[in-house]
Amino acid sequence: MIRLDRAGRTFKVRRNVVHAVRDLSFSVAAGEFVGCLGPNGAGKSTTIKMLCGILTPTSGTVRMAGLDPARRRTTVARRIGVVFGQRTTLWWDLPLLDSFELCRHLYKVDRGLFRSRLDELTETLDLGAFLRTPVRQLSLGQRMRGDLAAALLHAPDVLVLDEPTIGLDVVSKAGIRDFLRRVNTERGTTVLLTTHDLVDVERLCRRVVLIDHGRLAFDGSLEQLMATAPGQSSIEDVVTRLYTGGARPPGDVARQ
Amino acid sequence: MFGVLRAYVLIALWQARPGLAGYDVADAVTFCFVTQALIGPMQLFGGGLTLPERIRSGDIALDLVRPAPLQLWTLAEDVGRAAYLFAVRSLPPMLLGAALFGIVVPADAGRWAAFAAGFALALVVSFAWRYLIALSVCWLQDDRGVAVLSLVLTTFFSGMMVPLHLFPGRLGDLATSLPWAAMVQLPTDLYLGKASVPETLALQAFWAAALMGFGALATRAVRHKVVIQGG
């Protein structure tokens, strides 16, 4: 469903060339739930943006649902749902319902299907109370639920989430996690999420991809991740070790 | 860029009517670039002051308890900004105008001194006007109306678009005696040596004092409002 093959992206910052992502290869099969970890500035967001077609890779290939997102951006956009935790993709000044209506048109969703999906999402995400409120007046938790609903109205094959739980309180986080697990298991939607919250990873992800300095630093199941540091019992300690360079050198990457 | 286009229009007008308003073509071109240079420091398109935002956010309360009076404090800030804008926004158009068309440069020190005085007074008038507009936010729900009204009055009646001497009859006389003329038309006439120095400076000083006076009254009213109603 998702495939990166030696993908790289460089940025020119004044005179210097910065490698945000280099030689990154991994793939995600249909129905998987993959968490993408990495320290700040590691290249997670750049990777996500290349997968959505927002950024064009400067080297290597990126495939989303078999298509090149940079060249076939709008076709790819129809098949994926994207949520950025840091900023909403909804229309800031419009009521939530208007945003959904716009999505229905933009994604060309059949009216009947739209109604039934919206009813279902309204119930599972508990949106009923603020459907007619302008997005700018929503709380962060409400807004995130609205964003999730908007990303799923067109029933995408893949859901891409960039830090979906950032800034949320414990209860809201738990609600979002429950919802994401159901989307993955009940609908079979492939989910790729980036996060700094390791509880997200423990509760949701069967597989972890760790990016550091733009390169793949680990790719494997949660158990394999824990096994990289025998004797450490908490995932936090394991990941800290990996981030601070206590792990194996980049050449020796564990693969599935 | 915009100054150049305006200069051509004025040149065409002065070719049709040489000597209009006591200017020759060179004066008209110079007028155009001097007024262009005044846009920056005089903030003719409005704004510049952070006051409206501070009023909306409620930070104005902090400003009012400062030991320095709000109006003078803001004036000091604004003069600083004007000095900066003079350097980056005023010199380039003057040089461009000089290079493309050639502009009149006063030869005697007296005229420069008169212009400097007129420029300083114009800054105060411009500030005092924008200060009043900014404070009006306190009493209005939608401040966009006042902002646009100020923009129209300032651009049209300052002489920034055409010399006010071109306005027909009474309108012309009226326009040259209004506060907006004190921001652009009057200092430019001092630069060109086309107006009586004492009379011009007196008119500018009158508007500066009058608008600053209104500003002081408005500041007291705002303080009252903030203290009594809590913002």
Binding site: F11, G41, K44, S45, T46, K49, C52, G53, I54, L55, T56, A70, R73, T74, T75, A77, R78, V82, F84, Q86, R87, T88, T89, W91, D93, L94, D98, E101, L102, H105, L106, Y107, D162, E163 | M1, F2, L5, R6, Y8, V9, I11, A12, L13, Q15, A16, R17, L20, D142, R144, G145, V148, L149, L151, V152, T155, F156, M161, V162, L166, P168
Partner: protein, 262 residues
């Protein structure tokens, strides 16, 4: 694309219409601001009967036609020059995750129906000039062509300005000089400007086709710069060439987009 645009524009209009008083005020203010430019023309003609050989009503015809194209474009695609603001705020990503072109979304974003005030003003000036000059259908048909041509040219300029903002993100006012400079330039007959400038806006950046070349035909006048008669009718061609260039530039711009931060 047109349907998508209409849908987005309608949604914004509905949102704006919710505040009725403010809506009416903004329409009125737009009208007043636009009137300043006309007032300047009237002041100039209070002092002379002809400017570079053109009468007041002839100038108003040229002004009205250019203004109508410009204000229509300003309402329809004026938000394209906010590329740099969107990039800085990090909101441009949002346009790219939707299954439709970023251009349409950006053009329709915050569609502002209150700009109708300025359009009405342009229509009134143009209507006055046509009546006063007694322009007949034999040449008057060109006015429709010229407004349409002008819209394509200004729309292309906005697109180019937007495209350039992908490169010059920190200096949007530099590229916006094109659009607003174009508006300022076309307010007066090009006869007032220097030969080099007019040749530049005829053969390089085709602003002369917004109202000047076709306008000369409507007024039945020769070009004081002596350009060939055929140019009066070439506006649509020039507009098309510029539009294609603008489209190519926009594509390049989006491809070179560097999304900021996380």
């Amino acid at each position: 694309m047109v349907r998508t645009y209409a849908l987005l524009a309608w949604t914004w209009t509905r949102a704006a219409a919710a505040y009725r008083g403010s809506f009416a005020l903004m329409v009125l203010l737009g009208f007043v601001v636009a009137a300043v430019d006309v007032a300047v023309i009237l002041v100039v003609f209070a002092n002379t009967t002809a400017l570079a050989g053109f009468t007041r009503d002839e100038v108003l015809l040229l002004y009205g036609a250019a203004s109508l194209s410009f204000t229509l474009c300003d309402m329809l695609v004026g938000n394209l020059d906010r590329v740099s603001a969107h990039i800085k705020a990090g909101t441009f990503d949002t346009f790219l995750i939707r299954p439709i072109g970023a251009w349409v979304q950006l053009a329709a974003d915050r569609f502002n129906p209150t700009r109708i005030g300025r359009i009405v003003q342009a229509v009134l000036v143009l209507g006055h000039a046509v009546t006063a000059l007694g322009v007949g259908w034999d040449r008057g048909w060109m006015i429709a062509v010229m407004v349409a041509t002008g819209m394509v040219i200004f729309g292309s300029l906005w697109t180019l300005a937007g495209a350039l903002q992908f490169l010059l993100t920190d200096a949007p006012e530099v590229v916006n000089t094109f659009t607003y400079g174009g508006q300022q330039l076309t307010q007066y007959p090009l006869a007032v400007y220097s030969r080099e400038l007019v040749l530049g806006v005829t053969y390089v950046l085709p602003l002369a086709f917004v109202n000047w070349q076709p306008g000369l035909y409507v007024l039945g006048r020769d070009d004081p710069f002596g350009t060939p008669e055929a140019l009066r009718f070439l506006g649509p061609v020039a507009a098309l060439v510029l539009a294609l260039a603008a489209m190519a530039a926009w594509r390049q711009g989006v491809r070179h987009y560097r999304s900021t931060g996380s």
